[in-house]
């Protein structure tokens, strides 16, 4: 099935008007020796019915257990039905970037509303229309800080998601920046002495995450002065966006940039993507931030309307002097996030409370088991680190019972041997958790 509507007669008439005999003649600019003689070595074409059956078969090779204790940067949340219905409207999903504002008011207004809601929940003054994901948003914030301040050192806390640290490392390497990692302390929050020691007048940015990879809420307010005293910029990240429903946002505590993963806002886990990178900043950086920005304006009759604005920051105007190279972003995921936030409204706080309650229950009950100990005393949102006698065996038992277990921390944190990172969202019932307890207690 090739979705080409041309009949042989159409093709005949068209070639005649062009003045050629065969379509092959249109490829005359390609040197003959480089033209393929036969067909590509690919599986043969399929009808819609066949391809539907094929994909159903492949998808059934995946197994989606009804209970998951895995978070670690991606979270299993309930997605209200309205989200899927809105993003399934093909006026949205089959459109390109809104370059022609007059026929793109739908997405431009929706993105303007998204930016507004993101600024509100992060406590910042401005937000862009999205980045690729939380990790690349953090990396771009670091690069932007370094370029803005003409400094080459980036300080990152070890409790930032391991994959985010790797992405920051890649972007920093490509730009010739130095990355210095500072440890977390015994509480699970960042080590403040190490921070004071690491931040100097060469430091462009300090990258921290709250809740951090261990689920622990960082005390952003207490580190802000250390960072700014040396003229560096504070980049505060997150991977669990629903925490913004209840926790004091970093924007209210002196962060210059708030970046994070927006997947929790109405986007399915999708085996890793697509998600959306949230990028918010203080007003000071409005003309420097990467990515698209929808802005309000008026039409020539004075009616309110929306356009892509401040485009002189962007690559298609400024080329090698652009703030970033980003072009496509994750607009449809941002639309899903916007619909999710409107759908929950003030209930985002209730949802966050429910997550705290569920995780607290699981944490308390697991810690009552023989040989199981909570590793860090600092408060957590919906994830926690727990030490147990044999994490691999625990996960195997859970897997065998159709449960996705916790994240084995040893591979990224050798010092946290025998520790698992568990997550409990509103999707786990008490019954689910009690079942988990009985499985691991066996």
């Amino acid at each position: 099935m090739d979705y080409v509507p041309h009949t042989p007669e159409d093709q005949r008439q068209m070639t005649e008007i062009i003045g050629i005999k065969t379509v092959d003649e249109l490829f005359a600019d390609i040197p003959e020796k480089y033209k393929l003689k036969g067909l590509l070595d690919l599986p043969p074409a399929l009808s819609e019915q066949e391809v539907a059956a094929l994909m159903k078969g492949i998808s059934s090779r995946n197994a989606v257990p009804p209970i998951t204790l895995m978070g670690a940067g991606v979270y299993n949340h309930y997605i209200p039905a309205v989200v899927g219905h809105v993003i399934s409207r093909s006026e949205f999903y089959t459109a390109y970037t809104p370059y022609q504002a007059e026929i793109s008011q739908g997405i431009l207004q929706a993105i303007y509303e998204y930016q507004t809601m993101i600024a509100k929940v992060t406590g910042m003054q401005v937000a862009n229309a999205s980045m690729y994901d939380g990790a690349s948003a953090m990396a771009e914030a670091a690069v932007l800080a370094a370029k803005t301040l003409s400094r080459e050192k980036i300080v990152i806390v070890r409790s930032v998601h391991p994959e985010y640290r790797q992405v920051v490392g890649t972007y920093a390497w490509a730009n010739g920046y130095e990355v210095v990692e500072i440890p977390y302390g015994k509480s699970g929050q960042l080590d403040r002495d190490a921070l004071s020691h690491a931040v100097d007048d060469r430091t462009a940015a300090v990258l921290v995450q709250s809740p951090n990879f261990f689920g622990i809420i960082e005390d952003i307010a207490s580190i802000e002065s250390t960072v700014h005293a040396k003229g560096a910029l504070l980049v505060s990240g997150f991977t669990e966006a629903t925490s913004l429903g209840i926790l004091k946002p970093a924007g209210e505590m002196g962060a210059d940039f708030v970046v994070g993963e927006g997947q929790s806002f109405g986007n399915p886990m999708n085996y890793g993507g697509p998600y959306l990178g949230i990028f918010a900043s203080t007003a000071k950086f409005l003309r420097k931030i990467p990515g698209r920005l929808a802005g309000a304006t008026v039409d020539k009759e004075g009616k309110r309307g929306f356009v892509l604005t401040l485009q002189t920051r962007e690559q298609h105007i400024r080329r090698e002097r652009a703030t970033s190279n980003i072009c496509s972003n994750e607009a449809l995921c941002a639309l899903a996030a916007a619909v999710y936030l409107v759908s929950l409204g003030k209930n985002l706080k209730k949802l966050a409370e429910l997550n705290i309650q569920k995780a607290n229950y699981l944490k308390q009950r697991l810690s009552e088991l023989e040989g199981w100990n909570v590793v860090f005393p600092a408060p957590v949102y919906n994830e926690f680190v727990i030490r147990c006698p044999d994490p691999k065996k625990v996960n195997q038992k859970l897997e065998a019972a159709g449960v996705i277990g916790g994240y084995e921390l040893e591979k990224d944190y050798p010092e946290l041997g025998n520790s698992l990172l568990f997550c409990a969202t509103e999707m786990l019932t008490k019954e689910d958790m009690d079942r988990v307890l009985s499985i691991v207690a066996q």
Binding site: M1, D2, Y3, M14, I17, I18, G19, L26, I30, L39, L40, L42, A45, M55, S59, N62, A63, V64, P65, V74, V82, E91, F92, T94, Y96, Y99, Q100, E102, I103, S104, Y112, E113, M117, S136, V143, T170, A174, K248, N270, Y271, G272, G273, L286, T297, V298, K300, L310, Q311, A322, E330, A331, C333, S343, L344, K346, I356, P379, I404, T429, K430
Partner: protein, 480 residues
């Protein structure tokens, strides 16, 4: 139209939250009150308000399903519905990326086979599917080049980019710390060989070309370009944004391309979603595979697994594995079309572009009068001279006739550029109707230029004040 915030009424909700079924503990006994926020200021609306709001917004938006969308270089072909349906199979959408591999065999199979198919179509040794979009793929490709020279112990500080390139190319080069040097185009729209020879020195990492280029023209001198770049130890990079022109006809790998990035959301029919999600796989020649991002899917017997241990890799460019759900749609598309379908798609894309070029050539200036590939580039210079009507006016007038306009003012080397990419999924009748409209607008420009300059007349809003938007930026709503 009112903003969602203006529709908000205190006390309304659209989604309820379940009651807690665990023994209730005061949250302030779990987390200190000082860490909590006061309020979360989000709109309060009923579900029906939400749905009507977004339905109204959708009616103010133009997609491929609404009408013809010949936006040059963006490949706005029809997005088959079966691809959407299969991508929403719960087995694919509900899987956590850290699920054990034995639970993820289906997803891993899709990624593994998609990489194989892309490698075959483009003649590359292997692909990475991690980059989230075309520009992200470019960045990844340039990082691969940087790592290659780093491992060879060579310091090369410059990268060459033709003046016809997409803006993302120089921006990607710069984001990798390269000094970007522009190569001129020659009179027939290709790379100026003399200029390339002059610039391609030992401190140049490589050349980033787009082939077919943004004029819609195939680089006739590709052999010579490849030879010049390689003779001086450089890497030949190809921006694959225009790959819809040659699937099954030729392979970039055979043409001497060392690194290529694709846009699955263009060539492989995954919908653009108002600007994303995309997916920007990067393909490389054999000796560069070891520099690709980690992790990579491997196959052992019939089982798929993740492998992280590639010591020469550039590392990661994003978390997890890429925009998996987009890959599902591209994979489905390749399986639907098969080898003959992909070839036919490219052939008809090129046929359609040449047909439009032929039908409009008497009415608009054609700066490079050659056979084109999947898109053709006109200039509105004649209209400016005759009646002061600019390309932007012509584009806005097209809105009144129910079309999405072509890409305009790009490539930069064509004044008043009108870049038309019709795509293979559009019928002769659609093209004829569009061409008739373009011809009618050329007539209007002559006879009634003020009408064209005042377009659009039929849209939800009239021409918008971009200058005001930039001078008094308002990117987040605040209560008056």
């Amino acid at each position: 139209m009112e903003l969602i915030f203006e529709k908000s009424r205190p006390g309304r909700i659209a989604t309820g939250i379940p009651k807690s079924d665990v023994p209730e503990v005061a949250v302030t006994s779990i987390i200190s009150k000082s860490l909590f926020r006061d309020d979360v200021d989000l709109p309060e609306v009923a579900e029906v308000d939400l749905i009507r709001h977004y339905t109204q917004l959708s009616k103010r938006n133009f997609g491929v399903d609404v009408g013809f969308y010949p936006l040059g270089s963006c490949t706005m072909k029809y997005n088959p519905k079966i691809n959407e349906d299969v991508s929403r199979l719960p087995g694919l959408t509900s899987l956590h990326p850290y699920s054990p591999v034995k639970f993820s065999q289906g997803s891993l199979q899709i990624m593994y086979e998609l990489r194989q198919h892309l490698s075959e179509i483009f003649g590359m040794a292997d692909f990475s599917l991690q980059p989230a979009a075309g520009a992200h793929g470019e960045l990844t490709g340039v990082m691969v080049i940087k790592k290659y020279f780093e491992k060879k112990g060579q310091k090369r500080s410059k990268i060459l980019i033709p003046d016809t390139a997409h803006g993302t190319n120089p921006a990607s080069g710069a984001l990798c710390g390269y000094h970007v040097v522009t190569v001129r185009s020659n009179a027939e729209g290709g790379v100026d060989i003399g200029h390339l020879l002059e610039l391609m020195t030992k401190d140049v990492a490589g050349l980033m070309i787009t082939n077919p280029n943004t004029l819609g023209l195939f680089e006739r001198n590709i052999e010579q370009v490849s030879e010049i770049v390689h003779r001086r130890g450089g890497i030949l990079y190809c921006d694959g944004a225009n790959a819809n022109a040659f699937m099954g006809v030729t392979k970039p790998g055979d043409l001497g391309i060392d690194v290529i990035q694709l846009n699955l959301h263009k060539t492989f029919s995954t919908p653009h979603g108002c600007g994303g999600p995309g997916s920007g796989p990067v393909g490389v020649r054999k000796d560069l595979v070891r520099y690709l991002p980690v992790p990579r899917v491997i196959k052992k017997g019939r089982r798929y697994d993740w492998k992280y241990d590639f010591p020469d890799s550039i590392g990661r460019v994003r978390a997890f594995y890429g925009n998996f759900n987009v890959m599902v749609k591209a994979y489905t598309y390749i399986r639907s079309l098969g080898p003959d379908g992909l070839k036919r798609a490219s052939e008809i894309a090129v046929l359609n572009a040449n047909y439009v070029k032929e039908r409009l050539r008497a009415y608009y200036d054609l700066p490079y009068d050659r056979i084109c590939m999947h898109e053709c580039v006109f200039s509105g210079k004649r209209q400016v001279k005759e009646s002061g009507v600019h390309t932007s006016d012509i584009a806005k007038r097209l809105l009144d006739y129910g079309y999405h306009p072509p890409t305009i003012y790009f490539p930069l080397i064509v004044p008043e550029a009108i870049m038309i990419e019709p795509n293979e999924t559009e019928s002769k009748e659609t093209l004829d109707a569009f061409c008739d409209t373009m011809i009618a607008i050329a007539g209007e420009a002559k006879e009634n230029p003020d009408l064209v300059k005042s377009a659009p007349l039929t849209t939800a809003v009239k021409r918008l004040d971009d200058v005001k938007a930039a001078r008094e930026p308002d990117v987040c709503w605040r209560k008056a």
